[in-house]
Amino acid sequence: MTVHSATTPELAPQLLEVITDELVRLAAEGPSEKEVSRSKAQLKAGLMMGLESSAARAEQMARQHICRGRLIDKEELVAKVDAVNAEDVRQLLASMLCGEPTAAVVGAGERSKDYAQSVSEALRAAAAG
């Protein structure tokens, strides 16, 4: 699972802070019901829109067969998305934050790797304490 963000090199320090803070805060407080329902609505709309494109549908069926060994009908997909609640999302993120993070930075010259290191350390410090 990745979060990809980009900005001008001058604003990079603020970006690192915003991303780290948001992840840590979301893992602690959880998302609001409104945020969760908006995300679920977008997911479901995306699924349904995809099902109406023959190219996307052919690919979806093939991938489901290769990755899961069976087709999953749209009712099952929608039911699984509907079943997700704010606490599921919070717990998932909290458990991910307890693991070793990955951080990669480009475009900040020689500081790129230091920035990646500082994001990683901030996330690990937040998870530890």
Binding site: V3, L11, H65, T102, K113
Partner: protein
């Protein structure tokens, strides 16, 4: 939903979705091998093979392949991902037999001419160079390598100039013979199709595929995590933060999808607002899951 699945005698699966109101069909063959199955010394071979599949068979030259599909107004394309390689076409109703004939021909009877291979190697080296100029690609490749160090998932789909140099026609033939086997492939069609007809065509056209077990993936991907950076002078600064996410088959997979939408899909206003305040940035989040539970 008018979805049907059949398995042919050689183990090839045929999946269709009849969309009665459509006048066109999208169809293709998906192979359950991708860049994560590349041997380390031949990193990039899955992608190289995908390119070479359009360069001529015993029956068709590269030009014949392009002209035949263009002659009916169709599209023919392919894509290599970490898990799969896809060869697909879109044609008007009635042209499915022709499209499947081309697909089955290029997947079973490609010739891998030495001169064509040298030309295509240059194309791929250019793709690698273009990718190294693209900050989105570079930051993603660095993150992937830091997340899965020393493992197939940590390497790139395109390969490196060094590994791409080692690929030969014989290497491609051996890879094709070993990996493109019926039980590991799916023919999928959606649109103006009739299941029985696609099954019949697939039986005639893909009957030559071997019914043998798909070779093992080797070891399961092991997420490690870590940090990486590049000092290459890009205009913009890109950051990827990643964690070990649930696989396709994990019950938490759908929570990961919701979380991803929340973080990157404009659902979490606080984050976007704070970014706007500090001068503007773009954020997206992608749940990258892999099929760790299905042997392929």
């Amino acid at each position: 939903m008018t979805t049907h699945v059949s398995t042919l005698a050689n183990g090839l699966r045929v999946v269709t979705h009849e969309m009665a109101h459509l006048e066109t069909t999208s169809l293709g063959a998906w192979v359950g091998v991708g860049a994560r199955h590349d041997p380390a010394s031949e990193n990039g071979i899955a992608h190289f093979l995908e390119h070479m599949a359009f360069k001529g068979t015993a029956r068709r030259s590269a030009q014949d392949i392009a002209e035949e599909i263009e002659g009916v107004g169709g599209d023919l394309n392919a894509a290599t991902s970490l898990e799969t390689t896809a060869y697909y076409a879109r044609v008007l109703k009635g042209d499915e037999a022709m499209a499947l004939d081309i697909l089955s021909d290029i997947l079973q009877y490609s010739e891998f001419d030495e001169a064509e291979l040298q030309r295509e190697r240059d194309v791929i080296l250019q793709e690698i160079a273009a990718s190294r100029d693209c900050p989105d690609d570079v930051v993603y490749d660095l993150a992937q390598e830091a997340a899965y160090p020393g493992q197939p998932l940590g390497r790139t789909i395109l390969g490196t100039p060094e590994t791409v140099e080692t690929i030969t026609p014989d290497g491609l033939r051996a890879y094709l013979g070993e990996r493109y086997v019926a039980p590991g492939m799916v023919v999928s069609a959606a649109g103006a199709v009739e299941h029985g007809r696609i099954v019949e065509l697939a039986g005639e056209l893909f009957g030559g595929l071997k019914n043998v077990g798909v070779p093992s993936n080797g070891s399961r991907a092991l997420y490690k995590g870590g940090v990486a950076g590049s000092s290459y002078p890009f205009e913009q600064c890109h950051l990827i933060v990643g964690f070990e996410g649930p696989s396709y088959c994990d019950p938490a997979y759908f929570a990961a999808q919701v979380l991803s939408g929340l973080l990157g899909g404009g659902c979490r206003r606080g984050c976007s607002r704070r970014c706007a305040k500090s001068g503007g940035c773009a954020i997206r989040s992608i749940p990258r899951s892999t099929a760790s539970a299905i042997p392929a």
